[in-house]
């Protein structure tokens, strides 16, 4: 049991991880790295759920159940995203998101 670490340290860790993932989504040109960064953001959200559940209401594990569902959905999202990236690679022979400009006016 962590006696010295309070809720706010967990929340700050989640904030840092979320902003790192946001920076990855905004800055990277590789489509797979976009997927990886969105997974980082989802993980930081999971940290928030687990920390709030731990510190505020440990009798009912609703937050941990919610993060189990987030885990499921992020796995499905990664599978679909990778399939889309592979299909795009077949079409354009690259994974550079700057080159996918079919809808760019």
């Amino acid at each position: 049991m962590m006696t010295d670490v309070a809720l706010i340290q967990n929340l700050m860790l989640a904030t840092l991880l979320f902003s790192v993932g946001l920076a990855g989504v905004l800055f990277s040109r590789n489509a797979i790295k976009l997927l990886i960064s969105s997974e980082l953001m989802l993980t930081s959200v999971n940290i928030n759920f687990v920390a709030f559940n731990n510190y505020l209401n440990l009798d009912v594990l609703a937050g941990q159940v919610f993060s189990v569902f987030i885990l499921t959905i992020s796995a499905a999202e990664a599978a679909i995203g990778l399939a889309i990236v592979v299909a795009l690679f077949r079409l354009y022979r690259t994974v550079d998101v700057e080159k996918f400009r079919l809808l760019k006016w």
């Binding site: 670490v5 592979v86 690679f89 994974v95």
Partner: protein, 214 residues
């Protein structure tokens, strides 16, 4: 000795794994090679799993380690192998765009820290009650999570299973080689249409004189 008496071993673990998580996530984003990014991602997910375990979520820690750090990372490595590992530069856009992005990130970080600093201290500095923690340490969280999922959240559980099925079928259809389904269907329709038209024209040629005679 005094330091180790004051600080518990769990707190040291928390700070260690938090530092590892943040540094490896930064390495994921900043690394040029996508393969190293995925490997650092495994490290980041494992340290986040350790933080889950420190937050009395042992089942979720193991699920995180299995689903993310093993399953997802291997799927991502397969994706890297399919799409080539030619390194793409990070952070090389126009100056105006990078300014906008940096300001977006700084804005979100300052907003979140403002929110954290202005919540009441009694709310933020709360610690879990020792009674519940000791009971959880005895029986684990897997049974409680299972009971919740199969009673209160049964609808969400079934919806998640349907969603996983849809995602599996969608991923298979999307990653088929050159979308063969649509190509073969199109060629099939085209060929049958040509045959029908050919036969039809032959019929017309045969039947036309009859109709004209009538």
């Amino acid at each position: 000795m005094n330091f180790f008496n004051q600080v518990s071993i769990d707190t040291l673990f928390f700070w260690f794994f938090a530092a590892v998580a943040v540094i490896s996530s930064a390495a994921v984003v900043l690394n040029k090679s996508i393969v190293y990014s995925v490997l650092f991602l495994i490290l980041s997910f494992l340290s986040v799993a350790a933080i889950f375990a420190l937050n009395n979520a042992d089942f979720l820690a193991i699920a995180q380690a299995i689903v993310y750090a093993v399953g997802l990372a291997i799927v991502l490595l397969f994706g890297v192998m399919f799409t080539g590992i030619k390194p793409l530069d990070v952070l090389t856009r126009t100056k105006r765009e990078s300014f906008v992005f940096v300001s977006v990130i700084l804005f979100s970080v300052t907003l979140l820290t403002y929110m954290l600093l202005h919540t009441p201290l009694s709310f933020v500095l709360v610690t879990p009650s020792s009674q519940v923690v000791s009971s959880l340490a005895q029986q684990g969280t897997a049974m409680l999570i299972g009971k919740l999922i199969f009673s209160q959240y049964i609808l969400a559980f079934e919806l998640a299973s349907v969603l996983l099925l849809i995602a599996m079928v969608g991923a298979i259809v999307l990653s088929k080689k050159r979308l063969d389904v649509f190509d073969s269907e199109a060629s099939f329709h085209q060929s049958t249409r040509n045959d029908v038209m050919f036969q039809h024209s032959q019929d017309i040629n045969k039947e036309l004189p009859v109709e004209v005679c009538n």
